[in-house]
């Protein structure tokens, strides 16, 4: 762009009065941004795709909870053992043992476990749905050519990108809260079939605080992957680049993490340690670490907290720093490309 600054002698030509039927809003940065986000929301509401993706996610959530019901329904009422001759002896279980077994099998249907179960489902189907949606929201503008329309109306390129990020975050939060609500309700309804009463003794102010943190961490995890989709869709100028790139990243990160840990364990010494420590800088590992730390409070209470994954050595501070770095890098690249790019065909 021209580096010649505007001279003082140049004066803006006075604005002509618009028609009385044109009602203009405030033109400060925030008002323009909020209107742009509203425009994005309007588009999302009118599209069939987000509704279809949400419906699929809800169906998968119901299917996931129905497995717990099936586990209860098909839990064995007899205990079988095999003697040294290979002969099997089965004896009926006591009523108390059956009840205990049912309670254990149906635990994920009731709070607080149903919350963890819902988040686990969201981590799978929620991520896929949101990456598809994000790739479409950002890459679609380039694919259909509407980017020209949007960038010649008034909002700056920064406001355009911020509006996209804003709508993606709104979609993430809406998806997470809606699916959690669906999961808890479906779990509670399925739990009625087991006849086991829900014990709300866990429900304290502290539990609620950790539950909110737990949900927000899940939303953060989805947001980081969504920002990969924003970045790649902007770079690739297509919907496919955003969706495929982010999904590949998400899939290979978990696969590669497992491989590195195994290979690292087989190679003792500094190289092995290095390989084992690489997954500590992956998005998924850090999100899991943050989530596990909160899950300990939700399920076991703070005093009995134990880790359930191999991410026990990642601290909250480490995880947050790593995730912030990812966010800064992805949003930064998207911003820079969006700012510098010439909008041609």
């Amino acid at each position: 762009m021209s580096s010649t600054p505007q001279t003082a002698t140049e004066q803006a030509i006075p604005v002509l009065k618009r028609s009385d039927t044109v009602i203009m809003g405030r033109q400060d940065f925030l008002s323009v941004l909020l209107r742009s986000i509203s425009g994005e929301l309007y588009k999302i509401r009118r599209r069939a795709m987000p509704k279809i993706l949400l419906l699929i996610a809800i169906i998968i959530m119901i299917i996931a909870f129905s497995f717990s019901v099936l586990a209860v329904a098909f839990s064995p009422s007899v205990s079988c053992t095999t003697d040294s001759n290979g002969k099997e002896y089965c004896i009926p279980k006591s009523q108390a043992a059956i009840q205990k077994q049912k309670e254990a099998a149906s635990e994920s249907l009731r709070l607080p476990s149903s919350l963890s179960m819902s988040i686990s489902v969201i981590n799978f189907i929620g991520t896929i749905s949101l990456l598809i949606l994000t790739g479409s929201i950002v890459g679609g503008e380039y694919a259909t050519g509407t980017i020209r329309l949007m960038l010649t109306r008034g909002p700056t390129r920064a406001q355009f990108l911020l509006a996209k990020i804003g709508i993606v975050i709104i979609c993430v939060l809406t998806t997470v809260f809606l699916l959690i609500l669906v999961g808890i309700i479906v779990g509670a309804l399925f739990n009625l079939t087991t006849g086991i009463a829900v014990d709300f003794s866990f429900f304290t102010g502290e539990w609620l605080f950790h539950a909110i943190l737990y949900v927000l961490i899940a939303a953060l995890g989805l947001s980081v992957y969504a920002m990969i989709a924003v970045c790649l869709a902007t770079l690739g100028k297509t919907t496919a680049a955003g969706i495929a790139g982010a999904l590949i990243w998400w899939f290979f990160e978990s696969t590669l993490g497992g491989i590195l840990i195994i290979v690292g364990a087989l190679n003792k010494g500094p190289i092995g340690n290095l390989l084992q420590s690489i997954p500590d800088y992956f998005i998924g590992s850090n999100i899991s670490a943050l989530r596990d730390h909160q899950n300990q409070y939700l399920i076991n209470g703070a005093t009995q907290a134990t880790s359930t994954t191999n991410t026990h050595d990642i601290s909250d501070v480490h995880a947050i720093i790593v995730l912030v770095v990812y966010l800064v890098v992805f949003i930064g690249i998207a911003w820079w490309v969006n700012h510098q790019r010439d909008i041609t065909n």
Partner: protein, 355 residues
């Protein structure tokens, strides 16, 4: 090449100074100095690939200039683009909208991004612009079901949404049928009468000649002509003489050429063309006011004209003259045409010559 720097005053809506855009080694726009005044209906002409759309994109901030400045409404596009865009309604190439939204919903989204308040406050404006482009019946129809002409009309509706001071239309009649083109022409005239400035890029020269008061012509990224349409056409005005016989016409040609050599400097060029009936016509590039002198000159040589009348210039001729490097010289037994001789055209192109 036209290189006079634009004068900037309070009536200058668009002013570019040495605006340049290169894509690698390709110079898409070279030192463009353009000036559009308030109230102008400005025709922006040029062959395909001459840089019209690139210029429009630079004016709208879609493309960053490699060098030079673009000042719109006295504001620099490099620093105050949002304020500028709030005063412009534009169509860049074929308008594109969201296929899953209706025409009306697309306008709502455009309005949200154009600084207009949300909600029902602007419903009357939506109706107005849809009425202007005669899409009010199809407002609720999904955009993907629109014909090309309807899409073009919706683009114009979106451009007019904020009642802009400057309307930039890049090939607005693409995809429109003849009646649609007439409507667009009428719309441009109506907008002009309301004091709007129109920047019209088009290939339809007759269209531009009818509605524009000023034009600029681009060739290979260079501005080759800019000025008042009437003046440009006056430059192309010629005297047409019908004598009848081919032999007499050639004799008249020789008489006039001789006069030219003897000092009749007001005769610029003489050529012979054939009319529809195949009869030869003498075309003299001279002021129409000299028609009587031409007649006298011929009569002194016993050559009597059946008809003498002015032939008005048209934008097509101006365009072709400006965008082709040279014209074919006169051929005594043939007809002069304004098309370039290929070899010469190539040679002029190589020199980078401009008219």
């Amino acid at each position: 090449m036209v290189n006079n720097m634009p004068l900037h005053d309070s009536n200058t809506v668009i002013s570019t100074t040495r605006l340049t855009k290169t894509f690698g080694k390709l110079v898409a726009i070279n030192d463009l100095n353009l000036e559009v005044m308030r109230g102008d209906v400005f025709g922006f002409l040029g062959p395909n690939g001459s840089g019209k759309t690139t210029t429009i994109r630079m004016l709208l901030g879609l493309i960053r200039p490699t060098a030079g400045r673009a000042i719109l409404f006295g504001l620099d596009t490099a620093y105050q683009l949002p304020a500028i865009l709030l005063r412009i309604g534009a169509i860049v190439e074929t308008p594109t909208f969201y296929p899953y939204l209706s025409g009306l919903d697309n306008l709502r989204v455009v309005a949200a991004n154009s600084g207009m308040v949300l909600g029902k406050a602007n419903n009357r404006r939506f109706e107005e612009v849809l009425n202007i482009v005669e899409l009010h019946v199809y407002g609720k129809l999904a955009y993907r079901k629109y014909s090309l002409g309807m899409k073009q009309r919706l683009g114009i509706a979106a451009a007019l949404l904020i009642d802009p001071e400057l309307v930039m239309l890049d090939e607005p009649t693409n995809g429109l049928d003849p009646s649609g083109m007439i409507e667009i022409r009428q719309l441009i005239r109506r907008l002009s009468s309301l004091g709007k400035t129109i920047f019209l890029s088009s290939h339809l020269l007759a269209e531009v000649q009818q509605v524009c008061n000023r034009v600029a012509i681009l060739r290979k990224g260079n501005l080759v002509k800019q000025g008042d349409v009437k003046e440009l056409l006056r430059e192309r005005e010629r005297v047409e003489v019908h004598i009848g016989q081919a032999e007499q016409t050639h004799s008249a040609f020789d008489v006039l050429r001789q006069s030219q050599d003897q000092g009749a400097t007001w005769i610029n060029n003489i050529s012979i063309e054939q009319n529809k009936e195949g009869n030869p016509i003498l075309l003299i590039d001279a002021p129409v006011a000299r028609s009587a002198e031409i007649n006298m000159l011929l009569a002194h040589n016993n050559l009597f004209a059946a008809e003498i009348h002015p032939r008005e210039g048209n934008l097509e001729e101006v365009f072709l003259e400006a965008t082709t490097p040279t014209s074919v010289p006169y051929m005594p037994n043939g007809i002069q045409r304004f098309a370039p001789a290929p070899a010469q055209a190539q040679s002029e192109e190589e020199k980078g010559a401009t008219l």
